[in-house]
Each structure stands twice: as C-alpha cells, then as structure tokens.
Symmetry: C2
Amino acid sequence: MNYKRRVDKLIGLLQEKGLDAVILGDRANVRYFTGMRFNTASFSILFVSKNGDVVLLTAVLDYNRVKRNCWIKDIRKFPEDDPNYLNPLKELLYGRNIKRVGVEFSTVTVERENLIKEVTNAELVNIENDLLRLRMVKDMEEIEIIRAAAKIAEKAMIKAVESIREGVKEYEVSAIAQDVMMREGAEGLSFEPFVMSGENAWLPQRFSSDKELKKGELVLFDMGCVYRGYCSDITRTFSPGGLSDEQKHLFRVAYEAQQKAIEAVKPGVAAEDIDKAARDYITQKGYGKYFPHLTGHGLGLSIHEMPIVDLGSKILLEPGMIVTIEPGIYVEGLGAARVEDMVLVTDDGYELLTNAPRELV
Amino acid sequence: MNYKRRVDKLIGLLQEKGLDAVILGDRANVRYFTGMRFNTASFSILFVSKNGDVVLLTAVLDYNRVKRNCWIKDIRKFPEDDPNYLNPLKELLYGRNIKRVGVEFSTVTVERENLIKEVTNAELVNIENDLLRLRMVKDMEEIEIIRAAAKIAEKAMIKAVESIREGVKEYEVSAIAQDVMMREGAEGLSFEPFVMSGENAWLPQRFSSDKELKKGELVLFDMGCVYRGYCSDITRTFSPGGLSDEQKHLFRVAYEAQQKAIEAVKPGVAAEDIDKAARDYITQKGYGKYFPHLTGHGLGLSIHEMPIVDLGSKILLEPGMIVTIEPGIYVEGLGAARVEDMVLVTDDGYELLTNAPRELV
C-alpha cells in the first residue's frame, strides 16, 4: 500500500478545509494512513499538520515494533495505565500555531478534547465523514484483501451450517465459524457474531445464547472476520427442519428482496435506489413494516463505512466500492430471515464476494 | 444480582458529589447497573437522576428484548445508522434542570458532549474513577462468575500449550485457545489474545502473527475470555525446546517475581507494595530495566479495573478484590517471560483463580 500517498491526500484535505492539523484516533483511520496493526486493547494517535509533519504516538509497549516497521519517521511513545498518558500529545501540540484542528467527533473523548484545548485553544472540526469518503473507493490491493476476508467468512459459514441440527446451541454454531476463521489466519472478528433462533431472531437478540435450536425455527447467523485489517460480513438463514409454508414464504421474500437489490448494483446508481429495490419488494409482499433496518452498508477497515445503503442515501455507486446487501424480515411469532452478501461494484455492474449457498438447508 | 441496589448506591454518589444526573455510556457500567448484554457492535446509554429517574436508551433493534428482560421500566429507543441517532437523548434531557452531570470522560465523545451542552448547558463532571471504585470489590455472585471465566481460560491455556511444537504458527496456538473458550460458552474474548515468540516477544508485538515457533525461543501467550460479562486473563510462557541456560534463568526470575508478589497479597496491603515485591526481586536479579510495565490490574466487567498494581498505587487491598499478577521481563536478543494469574483477595490472604501449570514445558 502507498501510505505516503494517502497522507498526501489527507494533507490536501486539510488545505481544502482550512485546517492547521488533524489528530486522529479511530483505529481504522490510523491503520489506513500508517499500515500499523495494534492490539484492539491498545490505541495510537496520528498527528498530521498542513505543512506535512507526520507524527505517530504509540503506547510504550508498541513503540519498538512500530519504530522498526512503520514508514513514518517521527514515532513517539506514551505510557499506559497512567493518568498523564496524554502528556506526549500535549508536548507535540505545544508551541504550534493550531487554530483549527480536524478530529473524529465520535471517537475523540472529552478527556482528549480538554487536553487539545488546554494547549492550543483550537476549534475542533469534525472530519470523520471526509475520512470515510477518502476510504470509500477501494484500490486493487484493498479489494484483494477484502476478497480474501470474504472467502474466509464464506468457508466458516459453510462449516457452521453443516453443524445445524436440533439440540445444538446457538453459541456452538457460532464457535464453529469462529474457529474456522481464526485457523485461516483472521486477525479477529469484524463484530460479535450472532446466531439467533426462533424467538431470539424476531426480537432480535443480536448475540448467541445457550438456547438450543429447535425444529420449526428459522435461524439467522450473521458474522465475519478481520483479515489483514479488513472486514467481511455474511448472513445466512437456515433451519433444523420442520418449517411451515408461511416461514418458508417469509424466507423466500427476504432472499428475493436481496436478489433484487444486488441486481440493481452498478456504477452511477444512488445507494438509496439499491435500498428501494429491496424495500419496495418487501412492501409489495406485505412485509414492509417488518423490515426495520437498512439494506446494507459499505465496509473496509471498519465494519460500517460509506456508502450506507438506506433510505435517503444519495451517494452514487462507483467501481471499487464494496457494500453488503442484507434486507431482513422479522415477524413476531413466526420468525426472521435475512440473507447477506458482500458486493463489489465493478465497471459495468457487480461481483459477489461471498457465495456460500443461500437456500434454506 | 441486585441491580436496583447498585443504582441506589449510584444515586447516593450523585448526592454526595452534588450531581443532578449521570449519563453513562461505558458498556461495563451499563451492564453493572442494568444487567443487559449488548452486542459489542451496539451500545446503550443509561440516565439516572438524583431524584431516582432511571432511563435506558437502546438501539431500535435491541429495544424489544431489553423491554422484555430489563428491570428498568423506562426503556427508550434510538435509530441506528442515522446522523440524528442521539435525538432521544436530547428529548430525555430537555426541560430538566441539570446543572452538573456525571459522565465518563474517556468514553463520552465530543459528539455526545455537544449534544448534552446544547440541551442543558450543564457542567460535565468526570465520575469514571468513582464508578470503578463502586465496582472494585466484587460480591459473591460476581466472584463465582469470574471464577468460571478463569476456569475457562485455564482450560484453553492447557489445550493451547499442548499444541506447542516447532513450526506451529503463533496464530494457530491462539486459535486453539479461542476455540476452547467459545465452545465452553464464553461470550467473547476479554481482549485480543497474543502469542509472541522469539523476537516478537521482546519487541513486544502484542498480537499473534503467522510467524512459526522455533526451537530456542521463549513464547509468551496472554489471553482470556468474557463469561457472563466478566473477564478472565492469564499468561503463560513456554517453548518448543532448545532453550539456553540464560533463557531458562530469565524465565525463572519472572516466575519467582510473580510468586513473591502473589505471596504478598492480603487485605490491608497497598497495591504498590504488591508491585514492589515483584519489582524489587527483578531488580535484585539485575533485570530491573527490562520490566517496563505494571505488575497487575483489577478486572471484572472490564479487563482493566481498579486497583492497578503498580508503582504509586496507594489503594489498600480488601477481600473481594480480584487482581492479575503478571510481572514480565523482555530482553532484546534473548527473549521475554511473564507468568500471569488471577488472584482473589480473601479475608486472610489470597486464592489463585487460575492454576494451569506454570513451568516452562
């Protein structure tokens, strides 16, 4: 990856927005510009000024490794488990003439804000959407990594679905998939996976419990991994058998809605129109009020990125964007169904990055 | 668990500190007072006023389940993937006379701060240490859960260590442990586990890579799980064989330092004196400058809690506190060693919660 070129783009953004510097803490952004992997329990801070100063602050215990491996020359360390751990950031900012500084409002804590203001009295400007926009279209190398992440999740889903039978617990199904992904070299999970069966699915519960799967239940499994920093995300709906025609119909509508949305994917189409393709179909089939969420979302270094595929999302699709398509239907007393795949926008349409069987088993 | 009693204590704290309300977002705090588990990709906000109003804000998709399962009567929902998702918090605060509000400074983002100030103009007061202090001494039920979390991690460590041989990759060892923990019903990992071998250990690297284990290397594995919300944490050092006497000595000193610290654990002793027991021993053996971190930390709903067992930590141990003891030595060109166990402070001393074999295999 050409991290230096990414930082050059960032500096262009600074100039464009009249910012003197940015202070980034979101781990996806830090990784995008530095290439450095950090333990999820650790963190780091990237400082970039409009003049081109680039400084990475890391925890003491990460310092040696980062110093050795990172393209950035100016690496500094902060102590962990210390109330004054942010002092090195203070020192970095001290004496600089910073009037407007870009940060991620959903990541910067009051603690960090107070420190920045104490030293610089700068105005904080939220640039997280600008950063998400920088990361929105993936380059060839990113696409190859995400493709690999998707393949690992696909393999895990296939293995997990093979284990489905009455009496198996939700968390056991989830454990099988996680094991496949970790043995395949995933860095971790892209989010806490969840197997939700019967009532847990229509609530929905959004974590895997010790409930046993039963015949006559629809079971939904949503999961993914992080591979070389990039996320995958896939959902399948299955059952240990004994489904009613009504349940099968519910599944069929969710699945067909997903297909309608996928077929609508091509460059130049607005993300909201992809959502509309799924939503209109579900509404037409009478389940409109049982579809309470978005149709999909971009993903990359973060599990939720631009473009969001939802009502009101005006972003036009471009080649190199990668989104999930995952309309879902949740009916109390009956069940829930959702089929989710990762879709790459290509020059003339789309390519499915996940292809595990989609039919109810 | 008596969540209501915990909230009553919190209201006492509000009155004591002259706060009109608290707005909590840290997931450990929310779980402590509500008992609710949320997917780690989801979040919720707990509002408690000094008059005893208790309101839990959850994502739309978590609402039905929380409404059904939570002891709190006033549950409200916010939309996900919506720039105005915090509006329900605004509505909740609107018209209340809030002059001072308690929050967690390391959790509250600028986004949330701006919203609170827009509606209330309140002064934000950092109460995270007060909350950590409330959670510091564990009750009987918490101790039983943490004991179970520790047993799961212990079992996983034993299985992982059995897999050690030349040529196995770091992440493969880690995957084995994770699989055991997930099959045993863990909710997830208490942090990203890391197997670090040879050079990766003394850097240290703090994640599991695809490096193969080699003879003549010390290998360090630090990991743990979350079980019913509570964390476990254990480290062992091992090797595929071929260690020099110097490496064995390094291990011996780290292990003995840990034993010295553990033996010092009893009620009334300051946490810094536990640290001192390990640090003095390591220094006396000539490795003082190779021990760059704390001796241990409390743990519970979070992986790092009070008391911190480090230089300058004046907190006196009390029965019901649970801490890790994990002094480590990292010598460039030689290797790293650390043995970590979870220790419960009892009425007259300590009890080890993790007991997997500690010797180099």
